[in-house]
Symmetry: C2
Subunit: 352 residues, 2 copies
DNA sequence: CCCTGGCACTCGTTGAATGTGAGTGCCAGA
DNA sequence: TCTGGCACTCACATTCAACGAGTGCCAGGG
């Protein structure tokens, strides 16, 4: 922020950096290509449009900006946005009133499903884009109680009560018939050893005790462990990405060609692509941003995706994020996604 | 089909009827206003364009057709479509190969949720429009087993196994604490008296026996009945309208203005309006058709909705249908919706 | 009386010509 | 190194004319 020529960090003159930043800010605000004159007025630098044109030519050579056509202004390229978010952007933290509002909508007295849906709604409402939340991995959920119900023959219904209120069922096909008493006995055994632990801990515990247990019980316990692993938070398997506010995307001129919308909405119903994208973010440190083609999914070529993982008890259990046009107010969206992830994690956590 | 002037049934000359029918068919096929010459060629009547123009003028006066502008052809109005479907349309039954294909995708070995989703998918795939299915009222589902699980204090988890494989949970807040033994006893009692019946029968049965039962049990049984009433098929309450293929609607020129699409898709996420519309159809005899504004919901002003109730064991338990542009191939869509409703009902039925 | 051909008229659509304005690139001078 | 000036480029809007599909109406013929 001091030298007036090139900075070592970026091979870009301070002036160029300032101009790029001003250009992105202008374009994000107004949505129209910005020309040298506008930039001369708004960038704060005391330069003539002509000088600015020179710098803009450089920026264009570097692939950071481009003009839609000869006599229009310039528009940031994905590369330009990338540089902007990486080193030019000043994330303004949300003001505390906003944070409070968010917090009110994510309170520990809600169950997992309600929390996830609320988070998704909030993301979309606050950013005016599409929100999405990967439902939390059930690992962290505290196992309150486990019970087996004999259905018929070898079929047993396993009932897991998590977090005291949330119930999961799974029908298990067993290797042989078990009597009502046997099932009861096994449930008791499991409850004794597992109640209060989360699924992960429960699994470890089971593995530890496995060897000490009579042979004919192992299989059932293995089944129970498997059940725990497969059990997915709240909803019935696979359908574990919650969207909100997709229709907001119809308001953005850059996406409003019907074909683009079509493929986007197909991706929303299909979910697969977005799931893989989010799952790749699950190990990221914090907020992660995919600009344009960076996501690697063609449907999202004209979009940016901002994601953040959220964690419970120090362990990352899910990811959330928003989808919008590349032209989005990153300096606002980033803190919103960040805070929402924290608040969701906190709410999930302090609920146990 | 005989008199050459006006028929008593409709105040419309046979010629006018034939022309209206040809006009609708042409317009539905090509999507463009149809003029007198085209009609002269395709309607089968051996008339000159000029004569046809005279008839078209009459039809326009009656509000059955209208011209988008002076020098375009004519287009059916909603009223015109209405007359068409009411008395001009010849529903061609589906050929048996198609029926077989549908049948293969709706087999009794699927659970309720899978069946409903499959039906919705089929509707949208076959018609190339949006399909929707109201999930069946649980009344018809056969209660295989009921069990109570003590959670904490007065909270009890009720577990209903329906149709041998489908599980529903509901947490009940009771008036006092019940011991494990008491709960077991009550479950046994209920199972003895209710197993195998469907929820409606179970409810009646309960009401009958109520007076004969000890006082302190009544409340729990009432709770159980209430549970049964509230219990909703498969999914967790309220979310009981399954869509498929909404994106197909983006392909129709008459809907592809972004604002129309926006409000349509908002209606899809909101669901409320469509639910009320469908719920109004639940008492209809068979296929019901809403053309344009007939639905009474502004979002659907440019759409037509074709619905049909489906039933299990003679009782109507749900409704399904499709949404598409008013300009749709009614003579094909109607039998598709009809058959799908029958097949879904049959699959649900023969599963018990 | 109904049907038909003819004709004038309407009106959207297309395409070319034109002007306008925003913005650029480059150059010469301070 | 910055700046004003100037020619140039395009997208966009406007105008205008030609076109064509289709209508409404009228007068003549079966």
């Amino acid at each position: 922020m001091k030298t007036s020529s090139t900075t070592p960090s970026s091979t870009l003159s301070e002036r160029a950096r300032l101009l790029l930043r001003a250009l992105v800010e202008n374009y994000v605000r107004d949505g129209q290509p910005v020309g040298s004159r506008t930039l001369a007025r708004t960038a704060g630098l005391d330069l003539s449009p002509a000088s600015i044109r020179n710098v803009m030519a450089d920026l264009e050579d570097l692939g950071l900006i481009s003009s839609p056509h000869a006599s229009a202004g310039r528009v940031p390229t994905p590369l330009g946005y990338r540089l902007f978010v990486d080193s030019l952007l000043e994330v303004r933290p949300l003001d505390s009133a906003e944070v409070r509002t968010l917090k009110q909508r994510l309170t520990p007295d809600m169950d997992t499903k309600a929390l996830v849906e609320s988070a998704s709604d909030l993301l979309s409402a606050v950013t005016q884009m599409a929100g999405m939340v990967r439902v939390p991995r059930p690992d962290h959920a505290a196992l309150s109680q486990i019970e087996f119900l004999r259905l018929s023959g070898r079929q047993v219904l396993a009932i897991l009560v998590m977090n005291k209120r949330e119930v999961q069922n799974r029908i298990l096909e067993l290797d042989r018939e078990y009597s009502h008493a046997e099932l009861q006995q096994m449930a008791n055994y499991l409850n004794q050893h597992l109640a209060g632990r989360n699924l992960r801990q429960a699994r470890e515990q089971i593995l530890k005790e496995m060897k000490a247990v009579r042979e004919h019980m192992n299989t059932l316990m293995l089944a129970a462990i498997e059940l725990g692993e497969r059990a997915c938070c709240d909803d019935e398997g696979g359908d574990d990405l919650i969207f909100a506010g997709q229709t907001h995307l119809m308001d953005y001129a850059e996406l409003s060609s019907v074909e683009k919308l079509r493929s986007l909405f197909e991706a929303f119903t299909e979910k697969r692509q977005l799931l893989t994208l989010l799952d790749n973010c699950i190990n990221a440190e914090g907020v992660q941003i995919f600009i344009g083609q960076e996501s690697g999914h063609q449907v999202l070529d004209d979009c940016s995706v901002v994601t953040a993982p959220y964690s419970v008890g120090g362990r990352i259990v899910g990811v959330l994020g928003v989808i919008g046009p590349t032209r989005m107010a990153y300096e606002r969206v980033i803190p919103v996604v960040d805070i929402t992830a924290r608040l969701l994690g906190a709410a999930l956590n302090s609920r146990n």
